[in-house]
Point group: C2
Chain length 555, copies 2
């Protein structure tokens, strides 16, 4: 047995692969082609002529490798000494500098990430990957990295869409990806209190599987659900499609374990507390910058006995938004409550299978789902019906709501096909008070269209209310336009315009995608100069050398 | 007109008085006598012979002054130079070193505070009082105090029961009470979003009055409601009697303005955000240690159209707690949901007017109240009824629930009468998961009784579930025993034993009373050594000289 780890240019991976494809969203087996409807839409509306083959995953951008084995990576900057030291901590089999391990952890899945992966240029990537199995190993890795001045990027499901996983080295010589996949246990379940302690590396489906064996559900279903992890949900303040009913992920968190270079934090006593500032709320949304989350204590509920669906149409977005507001403010309690605007409804974006097909629903489509015990579910459904009817809604019955649910994790696959065929496609989101919703929606739409027009592209800007609160709602925008010139620069310009519009019009820079590198330039506007100084002070206390995820979040 | 402020030993107050009596809870006009029932209870159960007069406010402890004018204060340590500088900032009429202004701001209303006020010894008190009118004035006062090394204690309603207002000087020469009463406006109301911006100095009733004029309600009703302020609710993470329905105060907060020695924070964009750590959660519960809260943006709701009451009895606490758990976990939605244990029920403590009277309700009394629109309120009431019936509850109809509501702010007045007549009386509270509730309740009860027994007192320890959550509940203890020896030391010993039991048995050191000086020794157990270091780092960023409320909260 070799005791001397050696640097290897071996392309093949030696570690288990992350759950998502290296150069596209999700599972390659689920990649989609552009339907005739979508191709037609692109041609007529956006002046894009989709590539001829139309094969899934077939790249249009010249020369880029379709296979991981063919991708060119910048060489690893880790030395044999580093590798040996890391191996001594986690075991040789859990550390790698192979290209095959580095490449799938080179970034997240934003359109910028995917465009970079589609480039024929050498790809930047972490200089190595470590897969620790215990908190003690994490602490030792952090200690080593602080000594050796190596940056550390925690890695969960790899689904970041804000550059949260970019291999930024900051002031350091090298950057290490720390994969949490081995923190994959249901550590405990308190059936009476309805609390589960889940390992940070558990994916959404695996967490639900383990809970379901005991009759419980977490109920957190963001679009990244199939791949993202419990630790990632916590580190990014994720919000799911069922959050109207079960709450945002941060609402569900009762406790957190966090390993930092300065020690361990075990936060959260009791269901609620007045014992000073809520420090959990510093580490929720900390995006790997303040520590490595290893386990999360979460509120869970019994698997719902019944599930009811009802779709609705409203004559226009304003009427629909007022109806959603009334339902939420009156506490009628749907699990899912969403509303597409006229454009999104027309494109059928809510139902992946039918995207681009001639519209079946006019006006604005809303979806409601109710889950729980028979009695409470029926009561909540009836109350919601009454409010939506009173506010101008027309019921479309169950089918369109079931159709939405069926396709709800599918949209990102279409983005890959669009990118491959010359379209620019991306989403962004914000939130504001109900009274400011129309103004913010209009400002962001105008900003996006104007910025893309300036690059020579007509754009299709669609929007839906993805999450509702008593005092306001989120706005989730989907943009499709023709790629013109450097698509990366093109999207960066559009994103800059949209972000400036969000800040100038009272929105938050991100409602559920987190900050990463992409939203960082707007963070000082979001929290103020002193707010940024407070974050830096916290960072100094837990990570004095600054190795944790440099270049992210903190302005 | 004199431009030279002069130190004055004048006893009379020159500033508007705080809302509460200097030496007792609340409004002197509402002071109560001990009823025959209570006197009998004290005699037979606790071996206390109440004083003969039984007059409200008549002190039993030897020699203590009943009138503020007769109290002896330690002299003010502020100089004429300080006073002149403060006057230059806020105006001469808004600064005072008179005993009459210092004494009513000498502390809060814990039993320890009230025992200290009842002492004939010289009273410690802040060295001066300043009543700024603008944020700019607050900033200038903080700048001056940092330069001159004067500690600053923010003052709202003066209702702290954890020593949060103690005039601790720390490393400084003097301490200034900064009274926020002039921040008393409803700054804005967004009726569509259901958000109000309220000045930090508004008392509970005044805030509700201003909102009611516009048809809205905040719905935060802690026992301190009549005197405590919006800023105080935020700074202490207050929880109210209607929090089951309307949420804890921290749940209601959408935004905060905070003036610190390092600058101003304006936190909170949108109804929810994923823009990194939630910094509002650092200043909620910050107890004046991290900044002066001047305004709070809060979720408000239309004044409920209907209100329904129903009281219940359960054969025992365990059965009742299981029923409350089921109601909360099934989301049946009462506004108020509480349960007294057997002892508290027997003493009729839930209904102030009848405390100590022969019991009318056996077993354990529960109270439910429902508020909202006609339709949703009826639905929630019916769902709750069904769950409570299924879990062994027997309805007692409306009256006992109305009786509870009628007396719900009254209990602290009884404490004053008890203290005056030789009884020790205090409350404390914690929270834990449902599965741990019985164990924690038993451990705290045993600890309290044991510690008081060691001082020679039989004690009556009563408990109720004051707040419910899906994953757990709070436990609110009321203790009555005979004063033996030094009552202050006696209670400190009991409190220490209870706090140790809370920490050893999985509770939080405080569910809604905050930390102050009294819970500070347990904070490192609550948040860990590194958690404490994080708080100190934040403190360093916003208050580098450390003038803000020294000796509180941060261990």
């Amino acid at each position: 047995m070799s005791t001397e780890p050696h640097l290897s240019a071996d392309r093949a991976a030696a570690l288990p692969l992350p759950p998502m494809a290296w150069n596209a969203w999700g599972d390659p087996a689920l990649a989609v082609s552009l339907s005739d409807d979508v191709s037609s839409l692109l041609r007529t509306l956006l002046e894009i002529t989709p590539g001829e083959t139309g094969e899934p995953g077939e790249p249009r951008v010249g020369g880029a490798p379709a296979r991981a084995e063919d991708a060119v990576l910048v060489p690893s900057r880790l030395s044999g000494v580093h590798l040996k030291a890391l191996s001594a901590i986690v075991g040789e089999e859990y550390v790698s500098v192979r290209d095959g391990d580095r490449l799938p952890r080179a970034g997240g899945k934003s359109t910028l990430d995917l465009l970079r992966r589609r480039s024929a240029e050498p790809q930047d990537a972490p200089d190595g990957v470590v897969v620790p199995g215990t908190e003690e190993e994490i602490a030792a890795v952090l200690e080593l990295c602080a000594q050796q001045r190596i940056a550390v990027v925690p890695f969960g499901g790899g689904t970041s869409v804000v550059g949260g996983l970019d291999p930024v080295r900051g002031a350091f010589a090298a950057v290490l990806s720390l994969d949490l996949r081995r923190f994959d246990a249901l550590l405990s379940l308190d059936e009476v209190s309805g609390e589960a302690v889940l390992g940070a590396g558990l994916t959404g489906p695996r967490a639900e599987e383990l809970l379901a064996e005991r009759g419980f559900e977490l109920g957190h279903y963001p679009q990244s659900f199939r791949f993202a992890t419990i630790g990632g949900f916590a580190a990014t303040r994720s919000s799911g499609q069922d959050s109207a009913g079960f709450g945002r992920f941060d609402d569900m968190v009762r406790g957190l374990r966090v390993i930092t270079p300065a020690g361990v934090l075990d936060l959260g006593r009791g269901p609620a507390s007045a014992a000073g500032p809520d420090l959990r709320q510093l580490f929720l949304g900390s995006e790997g910058v303040l520590g490595i989350i290893t386990a999360v204590r979460l509120r869970v509920h019994p698997v719902p006995a019944v599930k009811r669906y009802e779709a609705w149409t409203f004559p226009d977005f304003e009427t629909g938004a007022a109806a959603l507001r009334a339902a939420e403010q009156q506490g009628t309690g749907p699990t899912v409550l969403r509303l597409s605007d006229e454009t999104e409804t027309a494109v059928n974006l809510a139902m992946t299978a039918k995207i681009g097909a001639p519209q079946e629903v006019s006006g604005c489509l809303a979806v409601t789902v109710f889950e729980g015990a028979e009695e409470t579910t029926t009561a909540r459904h009836e109350l919601t019906r009454a409010v939506l009817l009173a506010h101008g809604g027309t019921s479309l019955g169950e089918d369109p709501a079931r159709g939405w649910e069926h396709g709800r994790f599918g949209a990102p696959y279409l983005r890959d096909a669009l990118l491959d065929h010359g379209a620019l496609c991306e989403t962004l989101e914000t939130a504001t008070g109900w009274s400011n919703l129309a103004r913010l929606k209009s400002a962001v739409t105008t900003a996006l269209q104007g910025a893309l027009q300036a690059t020579g592209s007509t754009s299709l800007v669609m929007c839906h209310i993805s999450h509702v609160y008593e005092t306001g709602a989120s706005l989730y925008f989907t943009v499709v336009a023709a790629q013109r010139g450097d698509a990366i620069e093109q999207w960066q310009a559009a994103k800059r315009a949209a972000s400036d519009a969000i800040m100038a019009n009272g929105g938050t820079i991100t409602h559920h995608h987190a900050v990463g590198t992409d939203h960082r330039p707007w963070m000082e506007q979001e929290i103020g100069e002193l707010g940024a100084a407070v974050l830096r002070a916290v960072k100094g206390a837990v990570d004095p050398v600054g190795i944790l995820n440099p270049g992210k979040l903190i302005p």
